[in-house]
C-alpha cells in the first residue's frame, strides 16, 4: 500500500512537472503574478482608481467646478461633503476624482510615448552599434545633462502651460533615460553567445532581432518604464504646483495642492488630501513595477 501511494505521488509530481514545462514564458509570468498578493492588491487599487476616474460622474454628487463662498474650507466629515470643501467652496471629493483624470493622464501618457520613442531609438542604437549608436547616444547625453524636472520646467516655460504642453515636456524629459536603459540592455544581449550562435546559423539581422533580441529586451524595458510612471505623476503634479502645468480652474492633484496651500493652517487634513492621493498612486505604480520585475525574472 505504502509503496503504491509513493509511486502514485511520484507520478503526480511528474505530471505536474510536465504541465509546468509545457507552458510558455508569458503564461508562467502571469501565473507568478497571480501568486503575488501584494502586486494583486496594488493593481486592484490602480484599476479601481482608473474606473473611478473614467466614470467620474457616477462616483460624485457635486460639480467639481462650482463652489459657494458660504461653504469654504469645510472640514473632513461635513454632511454632504464627506471630504470637506476647498478654498472656494468646491466639493473636495469631486475635485479629487476629476483631478485624477488629469493626473493619471499626465502621469501615464508621457511614459507611454517616451517608451515608444525611446525604446525604439535605444534598441536601434544598441543593436546597430558603431556610428548610429554614437550619434543617438551622444544626442541623448545632451538631453541627459539636464535633470528631468529642470528639463520639463524649461520646456513648459518655453511652450506655455496646459495639459498638452505638460505631456510633451514630460515625454521629452523621459526619452533619454529610456534610450539609455534600452541601449544598454540591447547591447548586453547582442554580445551574448546565443546571438552569436544565431548569426552562425546564417540568420539575417532582422530575424535575429525578432526571435532573439526583442523577447529578451522588451520585458526589462517595460518594467523600467512602469517604474517611471510614479515619478511622472509626481513631476506632473509638481509642474501644476508651480503653475506650469494644468491651469485653473481645472482639477489636478498638484494644482489642488498648490491652491490649498494657503489653507494649510486652517484645515490641514483637507490641504494634505491631494498629496495623499499622489503618494498612494505613485506608490502603487512602483509596487506594481516591482512585482512585474520579480515575475519576469526567469531564474526565480
Amino acid at each position: 500500500m505504502m509503496a503504491e501511494a509513493a509511486a502514485l505521488r511520484v507520478d503526480a509530481s511528474l505530471v505536474l512537472q510536465r504541465a509546468q514545462q509545457g507552458k510558455s514564458y508569458w503564461r508562467r509570468v502571469w501565473e507568478r503574478l497571480l501568486d503575488d498578493k501584494l502586486t494583486l492588491v496594488v493593481t486592484a487599487v490602480l484599476l479601481l482608481l482608473l474606473v473611478m476616474v473614467l466614470f467620474a460622474p457616477w462616483f460624485t454628487v457635486h460639480d467639481p467646478y462650482t463652489g459657494s463662498v458660504l461653504r469654504r474650507l469645510k472640514p473632513v466629515g461635513t454632511l454632504g461633503h464627506w471630504l470637506g470643501t476647498d478654498e472656494v467652496g468646491r466639493d473636495l471629493w469631486s475635485r479629487m476624482v476629476y483631478g485624477g483624470r488629469m493626473s493619471l493622464l499626465a502621469g501615464v501618457v508621457p511614459v507611454f510615448l517616451a517608451l515608444l520613442i525611446g525604446g525604439f531609438l535605444g534598441i536601434l542604437a544598441g543593436y546597430a552599434g558603431g556610428f548610429l549608436n554614437s550619434t543617438i547616444m551622444r544626442l541623448t547625453d545632451v538631453l541627459y545633462a539636464f535633470p528631468s524636472i529642470l528639463l520639463a520646467i524649461a520646456i513648459t516655460g518655453i511652450l506655455g502651460s496646459g495639459l498638452k504642453n505638460t505631456i510633451l515636456a514630460l515625454t521629452i524629459s523621459f526619452i533619454p533615460p529610456i534610450i539609455r536603459i534600452s541601449e544598454s540592455i540591447t547591447a548586453q544581449t547582442r554580445h551574448l553567445d546565443f546571438v552569436e550562435a544565431a548569426r552562425a546559423s546564417g540568420a539575417r539581422p532582422l530575424t535575429i532581432m525578432r526571435y532573439h533580441i526583442l523577447n529578451n529586451v522588451l520585458g526589462p524595458i517595460l518594467v523600467y518604464a512602469t517604474s517611471l510612471i510614479s515619478i511622472c505623476i509626481i513631476l506632473a503634479a509638481g509642474l501644476s504646483f508651480l503653475g506650469l502645468g494644468v491651469t485653473p480652474p481645472s482639477a489636478e492633484w498638484g494644482l489642488m495642492l498648490n491652491n490649498l496651500r494657503q489653507a494649510l493652517w486652517v484645515s490641514p487634513l483637507v490641504a494634505a488630501l491631494p498629496g495623499v492621493m499622489i503618494f498612494i498612486t505613485s506608490m502603487c505604480f512602483n509596487l506594481m513595477s516591482d512585482g512585474l520585475r520579480q515575475a519576469m525574472d526567469v531564474r526565480l
Binding site: R18, Q21, G22, K23, S24, Y25, L192, D193, F194, E196, A197, A198, R199, A200, S201, G202, A203, R204, T207, Y211, H212, N215, N216, V298, R299
Partner: protein, 354 residues
C-alpha cells in the same frame, strides 16, 4: 620566398601525406584587433590575435587545437565561422573559396560548418524553449516551423534527451550537461559537415564531460562529421583528436598526428605544455614548473620567435629570425630553429631531446 608562402608549405606537406583531399583549407589566416585609443590619444596598437595561421582539416578527422588562454584558439574558431571578419588569408571549404565572388557565401558556409560554444547557458536564448533554439537554424534556412520543430525533436533524441520531457523546457531548467547536449543538437540541426567545438566540454564536471565526449564520438560516426576541437585540456584533446595543432601567441608552433605530438613533441613549447599535464600517477607528479610567467603581451609580441622569452633554449637566431612552420619526416610540422639544420641554432644538428 616570403614568410607567408613558406608557412603554408609546411601545412601542405602534412596534407600531402594524407590520401584524402582536405575538407577545410586555411591559408595565412590573420586577424589583428586594434586597441581603441581614447578620443584624444589615438593609439595604433594592435593585438595580433591570429597571425599567419595555416592548416588543413581532412574529412572525417578531429583536429584538436590547444594552447594557453589568449593564444588565439577562439579567435581562430570565430574567424572560421565568419563571426568576425578576417584581415587577410584564405579559407577554402571542399576546394571552394569562402567569401569570394564565385565561391561559397557565408550563408552556404553556415550550413556546412557549425559551432558549439563554451558557455552552455549564455549560448541558449533564455526566453525560448530549447526545441525552438534547435529549430531556429532550419527555420531560418526556409524549413516550415512545424517541420523544423519535428527535426528538433529528432535531434533531441539523437543527443540522448527525451523530446517529451525536454522539448518545451527553458535553458534554466536544465543542467549544464543537458544544456550542452542541446547546444550540440542545435549545431547539428543544419546537417553541417564540420562542427567546431570551442571549449565545449571545459565547463562540465568530469563525469558529465566524459558522457558528452562519448556522445560526440557517437554523433561523429552517425552523422559523418568532422570536428575542430578547441580545448586547453590536454587529456581530452588526446582522447578525441586525430591530429593536434599547438598555438602560441597567435601562431601555430606545431601540428601533427596526436601520437607524434604527445609522444615526441618537437617544439619546446609543446614539451613544456605536456610536462604541465597532471599525471595520473602521484609518484610521477611534476615537481618543477616547466614554464613560468605568462605569455608576453600580444600587442607587441617578441621579435623573431614569439616563444623565445620563455624558451630555455633561446639563442640569438631566435631573436632575429621568426621560425617557419616546416614539415619534418613524420607528418609533423614545427616552427622551431632547433629542428632544422642550417638555421643557425647551436642545437639544430643535435638529436631531439624527448
Amino acid at each position: 620566398m616570403n614568410e607567408a608562402g613558406r608557412g603554408s608549405d609546411g601545412a601542405d606537406a602534412v596534407a600531402r601525406e594524407a590520401a584524402s583531399a582536405p575538407l577545410l583549407a586555411v591559408e595565412n589566416l590573420t586577424k589583428h584587433f586594434s586597441v581603441k585609443g581614447s578620443l584624444l590619444s589615438r593609439s595604433n596598437a594592435v593585438v595580433q590575435a591570429v597571425d599567419d595561421v595555416s592548416f588543413l582539416v581532412r574529412r572525417g578527422e578531429t583536429l584538436g587545437i590547444v594552447g594557453e588562454s589568449g593564444c588565439g584558439k577562439s579567435t581562430t574558431a570565430r574567424l572560421l565561422m565568419h563571426l568576425i571578419a578576417r584581415d587577410s588569408g584564405r579559407i577554402r571549404f571542399a576546394g571552394r573559396p569562402v567569401g569570394a565572388a564565385h565561391g561559397l557565401s557565408r550563408r552556404d558556409l553556415h550550413r556546412q560548418m557549425q559551432m558549439v560554444f563554451q558557455d552552455s547557458y549564455a549560448s541558449l536564448n533564455p526566453r525560448l524553449p530549447v526545441a525552438m533554439s534547435i529549430a531556429f537554424g532550419p527555420f531560418v534556412h526556409g524549413l516550415a516551423k512545424s517541420a523544423a520543430l519535428q527535426r528538433a525533436r529528432q535531434l533531441l533524441e539523437a543527443v540522448g534527451l527525451d523530446p517529451l520531457l525536454f522539448a518545451n523546457r527553458y535553458p534554466h531548467e536544465l543542467s549544464g550537461g543537458q544544456r550542452q547536449r542541446i547546444n550540440i543538437a542545435r549545431a547539428l540541426a543544419l546537417e553541417p559537415r564540420i562542427v567546431i567545438l570551442d571549449e565545449a566540454v571545459s565547463a562540465l564536471d568530469k563525469s558529465v564531460e566524459a558522457q558528452v565526449l562519448n556522445l560526440l564520438a557517437d554523433l561523429k560516426t552517425h552523422f559523418d562529421l568532422t570536428y575542430i576541437f578547441i580545448s586547453h585540456d590536454l587529456n581530452v584533446v588526446r582522447y578525441i583528436s586525430d591530429r593536434v595543432m599547438v598555438m602560441y601567441l597567435g601562431k601555430v608552433v606545431e601540428i601533427g598526428p596526436v601520437h607524434q605530438i604527445y609522444l615526441h613533441p618537437q617544439h619546446p613549447y609543446t614539451q613544456a605544455l605536456l610536462t604541465a599535464m597532471p599525471s595520473m600517477d602521484p609518484g610521477r607528479r611534476t615537481l618543477r614548473a616547466p614554464l613560468s610567467g605568462d605569455p608576453p603581451n600580444p600587442i607587441s609580441p617578441p621579435s623573431g620567435c614569439r616563444f623565445r622569452t620563455r624558451c630555455p633554449f633561446a639563442e640569438k637566431v631566435c631573436e632575429a629570425v621568426p621560425p617557419q612552420l616546416l614539415a619534418l619526416q613524420n607528418s609533423v610540422a614545427v616552427a622551431c630553429h632547433m629542428r632544422f639544420p642550417g638555421s643557425g641554432h647551436s642545437r639544430a644538428d643535435k638529436t631531439v631531446p624527448h
